[in-house]
């Protein structure tokens, strides 16, 4: 018999019958998704940890305690500690101006804030070299005044701020737009001043969204490679952040050492993902509806 003439089983719930696929189609699709994700996403992650410990735990801890590695970790933390708070303040200010007020050119302003996301990381570093590098527009003046920006820490901080610029604003703007001005107007009409309104009314409303934005901002700040690579000058032990140090070790064929440092950043990524998932599950309605970035 060519055709299966048996009647279709009754639909017990919405996930079967007329609005879903046959079992084998479902199994094949799930298998495809899982295999694809395993090949492209999971295996690289597993490999990082496996390679990091290839030469044993002792070698792992020895590579991490080397002086250059320690300074790279310190530099990464320092850069993030400067860049993230600055972008946090900006993100809150920008979303206050954009979400609480109606003004001309708002859409254009939002596009400009998003701009760093559509710029190649390499270009993000290049623009500062053009401004502050030895041949740059401010180069001679900086040299005359003995200020180092490019191939020094300030350049790394600037490039990091650039690439993480939109994260907090991007999360807060849609959130504050949905929340509207009602709470703030109530507080103001009860006699609170602007700062009181912000601290006691707005901030509690946006705290989870703010944390979410800061989390993503921080992950990118600590992991940025391209932009920082262009402005850093790769001075070992001085201007190498963790990702740059990974590159140096890898190019010296010290793979176990490179993967040891990489495993720290992979841990950071995992922690970021876990907190992010928890925030989405627990406070999903207090985050911006959009999950794109």
């Amino acid at each position: 018999m060519v055709y299966d003439s048996r009647p279709a089983p009754a639909a017990p719930d919405i996930h079967s019958g007329a609005t879903t696929e046959r079992l084998w189609v479902r199994v094949v699709l799930v298998a495809l998704a899982v295999v694809f994700m395993a090949l492209v996403l999971v295996m690289p992650l597993v490999l990082v940890f496996s390679e990091a410990f290839r030469k044993g735990a002792e070698f792992f801890f020895k590579s991490l305690s080397q002086r250059d590695t320690v300074t790279a970790i310190q530099l990464t933390l320092t850069v993030a500690a400067i860049a993230v708070p600055l972008n946090l303040v900006f993100g809150v200010a920008a979303s206050w101006a954009i979400a609480k007020f109606e003004f001309k050119g708002k859409a254009f302003l939002i596009t400009l804030i998003d701009l760093p996301f559509s710029v190649s990381p390499v270009v993000s570093g290049l623009v500062y070299v053009l401004l502050f590098g030895a041949q740059g527009y401010f180069g001679p003046w900086l040299k005359a005044n003995d200020i180092e920006i490019i191939f020094a820490v300030p350049g790394i901080v600037l490039a990091t701020i650039f690439v993480t610029f939109p994260f907090v604003a991007r999360e807060l703007i849609p959130l504050m737009q949905v929340q509207g001005n009602g709470d703030e107007e109530a507080a103001l009409s009860l006699g609170a001043n602007g700062w009181q309104t912000f601290w006691h009314v707005t901030l509690p409303n946006i705290k989870w969204g703010l944390l979410y934005g800061v989390l993503l901002c921080n992950a990118r700040a600590m992991g940025e490679f391209g932009a920082v690579s262009v402005v850093s000058g790769h001075i070992r032990g001085k201007t190498t952040t963790m990702p740059l140090h990974i590159e140096i070790l890898y190019n010296e064929y010290n793979f176990a050492g490179a993967f040891a440092v990489a495993s720290l950043l992979a841990m950071l990524a995992l922690v970021t993902l876990i907190i992010k998932t928890v925030l989405e599950l627990r406070f999903g309605d207090e985050l911006a509806a959009t999950r794109r970035h």
């Binding site: 295996m43 390679e51 200010a93 302003l109 740059g136 949905v178 992991g223 990702p243 990489a262 992010k276």
Partner: protein
């Protein structure tokens, strides 16, 4: 967007009295702090983003037009742009296919590990690109876990190596992933996947299943329902996801340079060429390539906005 702002209060109007009747820059509101926050936003935006980007354009356009064209049409520049845009395009296409499958499976089916799979989708957003780069490079190198399969002795490579049925009929064929444009594409697939999944997923979640029931009631087969009811609704999201993944891939640097092999004219991407020109102290060339990439990126951004505007008109929401 606009409908959510507060009603205006007559009392606050006096302060913000517009210069021209009926025209205002900012709509009057009882909420304070516009001047401070807007001013700070503009200042910070200018210092960090606008002035540096303006400097880039200034640098590139201070060149004579002949020099500009000479750099832009340099064989190596064209080859690098071709590698970047070509592999980004293929990677974005692969991401559209698998991204839609992953999003579909995550929204529509219940299976063990679904939540974990959902969380892992965002890994490329969180994992630093350099880490992804060395991991993918090691994984797909001829001796790596996956690369070994494609080596001539490997399970898949053997099928095409000397003495195989394939080699007898078509000649031996080695599949090399790492250090070739195929490796670049793999890295760009890694980077771009979440863009497609996270754009398509919310649309699928909001999709009214009553429409599918209605289609089934009217006698449509499942395939017809997917083809004529679900797919049209997903199209704008898929296009947006494609554009986002493509735009991100074109500029990607960290995850690519380790796996690419970086052979000029073959597997050298445009961002790497910018770095090389900069290291040669050839700022004009670096700036010109950067401007070409920026202009194309802006065009992509424009396309994304047009798709979203079209989607809003057609379906009443953004993507």
């Amino acid at each position: 967007m606009g409908s959510l702002t507060s009603s205006t209060h007559p009392a606050s109007k006096a302060k913000n009295q517009p210069a021209r009747a009926g025209w205002y820059f900012v709509k009057p509101s009882v909420v304070p702090g516009f001047g401070l926050t807007f001013g700070y936003t503009l200042l910070y935006l200018s210092i960090i983003v606008l002035i540096p980007i303006a400097a880039l354009f200034f640098k590139a356009f201070s060149l004579s037009p002949e020099r500009l064209i000479e750099i832009a049409t340099d064989r190596r520049t064209v080859a690098a742009l071709w590698v970047s845009f070509g592999s980004s395009f293929i990677a974005a296409l692969v991401n559209v296919v698998f991204g839609v499958i992953v999003a579909w499976v995550l929204v529509r089916y219940r299976f063990p590990g679904r939540r974990l799979l959902d969380a892992i989708v965002d890994l490329p957003f969180a994992l630093p690109t350099a880490v992804a780069g060395i991991a993918l490079s090691t994984l797909y190198a001829p001796k790596g876990w996956v690369g070994a399969l494609f080596a001539p002795q490997g399970a898949i490579g053997r099928l095409f190596a000397d003495g195989s049925w394939w080699a007898d009929h078509f000649g031996p064929w080695t599949i090399k992933i790492a250090y070739t444009p195929a490796g670049i594409t793999i890295a760009l697939i890694f980077i771009g996947l979440p863009f497609v999944v996270r754009t398509v997923q919310p649309i699928l979640e909001e999709f009214e299943q009553e429409l599918e029931e209605a289609a089934a009631t009217l006698g449509a087969t499942r395939l017809q329902t997917i083809r004529h009811v679900i797919m049209p609704r997903l199209t704008p999201a898929v296009l947006t996801g494609f554009a986002l993944a493509f735009a991100r891939a074109v500029g990607e640097y960290g995850s690519v340079i380790f796996i690419a092999g970086n052979i000029p004219y073959v597997s050298e991407i445009a961002p790497l060429l910018i770095v090389i020109r900069l290291e040669e102290f050839d700022q004009p060339a670096a700036s010109t390539i950067a401007v070409i990439m920026l202009v194309i990126a802006f065009a992509m951004l424009l396309v994304i906005n047009l798709i979203q505007a079209w989607s809003r008109r057609r379906f009443g929401d953004g993507v």
